[in-house]
């Protein structure tokens, strides 16, 4: 029996389908790219043996593997962050990109790149190679907090205010980024394009090493908030009535989103819409309980981003499309469809 009495998929068949899809997309992603790799070679390299093409193991182990892992983590974290924000704001339209969290994180990252040589030199010296992800994390958390303060009036989140403040935050971050590009040198400018377009194109083990701890921490902490977040769906006051510490939960969720989105932005730039599409699909098929939404969003978000990234590097091969562009192409129409079809906000 695939569907239960509420017309939803059973969790077990859904899990089997999602895991199968994730594994096949993972294989597809590792096997596809501009450089042709023979399947036997891939299997041989993955089994730790020598491939017939000596370059094959380099492509596979140094390029596609870190890229796949980073893509999966970023997708998972963005989807989970979207789900957390939607629960927290009690609104299915909240998304790290839409409400400006990603922009806040990327602005902080860009500030480190451009002002690292001058004003922020001390910070760079202090934090070393962690300077960027930590700055992105602080920028992301600060923006969630700001959006929360602006949109929340006596326990109720004003949806319109939230989205409008998102527009304003995105505009301010965009303008500040533009201003910084004015002071940026040519070299710095190259890095900036990477942030605004979003890309996994230069992913390597170093990126993974820096970004993964933050993202994995976010993915581990998020499910602990599932029950109180369910209560949030009934209203902020209900959280307290049910015995959960509403303020602590709120702060924890904000930190997790800042941590996850900050790290994701630090390693891959601005990638939108994952946090909007994925939790929405999960709720449609499996229901709104966060104990289901969070883990499934992580799995499907990771899979979706890896799939989009595989597509991004084959459609215009041997060149590559920025993944941010790819997600906007997929996510933009989806979002519009969502707005047209929605019954409740």
């Amino acid at each position: 029996m695939i569907r239960d009495a509420a017309g939803r998929f059973g969790y077990t068949p859904a899990l089997i389908i999602v895991v199968c899809a994730a594994v096949s997309i993972a294989l597809l992603s590792v096997a596809s790219g501009a450089y042709p790799l023979a399947i036997p070679d891939i299997l041989r390299v993955l089994a730790g043996r020598e491939a017939s093409d000596p370059v094959a193991s380099l492509v596979l182990l140094e390029v596609r593997m870190p890229r796949f892992l980073l893509g999966f983590l970023v997708g998972a974290v963005l989807a989970v962050s979207g789900a957390l924000l939607q629960g927290l704001f009690r609104n299915p339209l909240a998304d790290p990109g839409l409400i400006g969290v990603s922009a806040g994180a990327s602005l902080a990252a860009i500030m480190v790149i451009v002002l690292g040589g001058t004003w922020l030199g001390g910070w760079l010296e202090f934090a070393g190679e962690w300077a960027l992800p930590i700055a992105a994390f602080l920028g992301g958390s600060a923006t969630v907090f700001l959006a929360w303060r602006i949109a929340n009036r006596s326990g109720q989140t004003q949806v319109a205010t939230l989205l409008l403040s998102g527009i304003a935050i995105n505009a301010i971050a965009g303008a500040a980024t533009g201003l910084l590009t004015f002071y940026a040198t040519d070299d710095e400018l190259r890095s900036l394009t990477f942030w605004t377009m979003g890309s996994l194109g230069h992913a390597d083990w170093d990126d993974l090493l820096i970004g993964a701890p933050f993202m994995i921490l976010a993915l581990i902490v998020a499910p602990c908030l599932a029950r109180p977040l369910d209560a949030f769906l009934l209203g902020e006051s209900v959280v307290g009535h049910l015995g959960y510490p509403a303020d602590t939960v709120k702060k924890a969720a904000i930190l997790v989103v800042g941590l996850g989105v900050g790290a994701a932005v630090a390693v891959s730039g601005l990638i939108g819409f994952v946090g909007l599409i994925v939790p929405h699909l999960v709720r449609l098929v499996l229901g709104a309980s966060h104990r289901v939404v969070l883990p499934f969003s992580a799995l499907i978000g990771g899979t979706l981003l890896v799939a989009a990234d595989s597509l991004a590097r084959v459609v215009v091969a041997p060149a590559e499309l920025p993944i941010g562009l790819m997600m906007a192409l997929i996510g933009g129409p989806f979002f519009l469809g969502l707005l047209m079809r929605r019954k409740v906000v």
């Binding site: 017309g7 009690r90 369910d230 307290g240 009535h241 049910l242 229901g287």
Partner: protein, 271 residues
């Protein structure tokens, strides 16, 4: 004593909304809060449910409210807000199970089934809450709130803010009977805000009628629901008939020329 409130005042934005309220509730006792719009009923209830800072004392089962651990308090005090908006596709069963999270790990259990039967929502079990009518949603929320404290032993408190406002008359009777019976059987103290005077007269042990943040009169239904009190508090012209069932019936006589009255508050404790 389940609840003891001493000199409770609540200030919101520098304005005193609730002033010097004293009340006590014994296990199994049903008290209803009456009063015109803006009298401070909901504010009083929100202070009791821990949502607002207050002056004075609130003692739950012998312990100051602030001294309770939130998770323990949640098993002894349940709150039903005036309105719960659900925007997400949660089923009836899932919402009720949220009230049971700390006891049954959210799995469907016997208490959920029993409450759904009592509140006549078994047929809605797998429906999505956002698609239900207002009255159906109210019964679902009530089931969640009751489930939260039903199988705890010892003193328990149920705070209800207009829990029957969207129900048809038959379901109003059904719901109030369930609440009254559970209060008696389980020794749950109930404090409920109600606007329907006759419903209050029929199902309450005691009434507390508020005006401008203060207690205007407290006592049994025949003591509180008198022509002069209603005129003084609501500016409401009514005839009060004593029914053979043992509680009064309030029959409205139209607003007439009655203006908001200026009765002197005199909070008389019922013996």
């Amino acid at each position: 004593m389940t609840l003891l409130v001493n000199n409770l005042s609540v200030l919101l934005g520098g304005v005193t909304i609730v002033r010097d309220i004293n009340l006590s509730l014994e296990p199994g006792e049903v008290m209803m809060l009456l009063g015109p719009n803006g009298a401070g009923k909901s504010t009083l209830l929100r202070a009791l449910s821990g949502e607002l800072p207050f002056l004075g004392q609130i003692v739950m089962a012998g312990r100051q409210l602030v001294d309770w651990k939130p998770s323990q308090l949640a098993r002894r005090r349940a709150v039903m807000p005036q309105k719960v908006d659900v925007n997400f596709p949660l089923t009836v069963e899932e919402v009720i199970a949220m009230g049971r999270a700390s006891t049954s790990k959210g799995k469907p259990d016997g208490i959920i089934d029993r409450l759904m039967v009592e509140l006549d929502i078994t047929h809605l079990r797998h429906r999505m809450v956002p698609g239900l009518s207002g009255g159906e949603q109210q019964r679902v929320q009530l089931a969640r709130v009751l489930g939260q404290i039903l199988d705890t032993s010892g003193p328990r408190l149920l705070l209800l803010d207009e829990c029957t406002s969207a129900l048809d008359p038959a379901h109003q009777q059904l719901v109030m009977e369930v609440i009254q019976r559970l209060a008696r059987e389980q020794g749950i103290a109930v404090l409920a805000i109600v606007h329907d005077l006759n419903l209050a007269a029929q199902f309450s042990d005691r009434l507390l009628i508020m005006q401008a943040g203060r207690c205007f009169r407290e006592g049994t239904a025949p003591e509180v629901l008198t022509q002069s009190v209603l005129k003084a508090v609501y500016g409401y012209r009514a005839r009060v008939i004593s029914l053979p069932e043992g509680y009064p019936l309030v029959v409205p006589l139209g607003s007439g020329d009655a203006q908001l009255a200026s009765g002197k508050p005199s909070c008389r404790q019922a013996s």
